[in-house]
Symmetry: C2
Subunit: 176 residues, 2 copies
């Protein structure tokens, strides 16, 4: 139990304190478990996709999620110009696919792996993903190196898959 | 592989398509695995805390994470007025604590459970959490029913704990 605290003093302490290093932040975040998602888009700027854990629910009214996007990534120009986005949460059978979308494979070659179907947003949705959220991007917010994409959810597909993958401590884990 | 797509047409389809229902969104999000975190604050508006999976890394430059907060929750007034925030990612030994902070327990009684220590931000940090991110809130963004709190990271504590908890399919799972 925290007691005997002087709020004004502590607010000042927090506001003056230096930030952690980039390395410390990355190491810490590697130990925050997150679902493995392949995020895809299509539209005027063409198809693109990347693997990310940085997805979370925002509000159910209206149904909204967010995705964090590195503005320096090869996928960024398409996600900036298009409005369609699909979050495909993957399972152990998609490990190779998650590596393809998380690695250096040219954007034009990534969709040659996996079975894709156009969602109602027009984004490519992974046909056998355990879970997918087909969305339209409604707002973007720049924070440091990344854009936070706010997305309204148009369609959800959930399949009776036995397992969903989580990334934790720099490796994959499967939840059933 | 997606082929023969007309981007202009699909953009229109996505923009016109109705959203999923609140119930469908909640059911979908229940199947997106997320780390179990107890989010705490202290400062001019007093201590508060709640259990949430809606936390994610935003940028390592500067080191920034985000937390989604229901503006109608009992914790919201404190998180709106204070600037200190700690994300405490918990393990299986904190199951009761996660339920206390995720339930109807009055805010004034929640910190009677668990061992808390004031962090550099002034927020209460859970002493034996496997992972904690001590932060200052630098910006807030309202989206639907929720505020997205953007937080710069002042301190990270990672303990050699064997397991971290994830919430998936409406129950706890433990990762080692």
């Amino acid at each position: 139990m925290t007691t005997n605290m002087s709020p004004e003093l502590e607010e000042t302490q927090g506001n003056d304190h230096p930030l952690v290093s980039r390395e410390a932040f990355r190491d810490g975040m590697a130990h925050l478990p997150g679902a493995v998602n392949i995020i895809t888009t299509d539209g005027v700027a063409g198809q693109a996709g990347f693997t990310a854990t940085a997805v979370c629910a925002v509000s159910d009214t209206p149904p909204t999620l967010l995705v964090c996007l590195n503005r320096n990534s090869s996928a960024a120009p398409s996600f900036t110009a298009n409005t369609a986005l699909c979050v495909n949460t993957v399972g152990p059978e998609h490990r190779e696919l998650a590596m393809v979308f998380g690695g250096k494979t040219p954007m034009s070659d990534r969709f040659a792996t996996g079975h894709w179907q156009q969602g109602v947003s027009s984004a490519p949705c992974l046909q056998d993903a355990p879970l997918s959220f087909d969305c339209r991007i409604i707002a973007r917010n720049s924070v440091g190196t990344h854009d936070v994409l706010f997305c309204e959810v148009l369609d959800i597909k959930r399949r009776q898959s036995p397992e969903v993958s989580v990334y934790f401590a720099r490796r994959f884990h499967d939840l059933a």
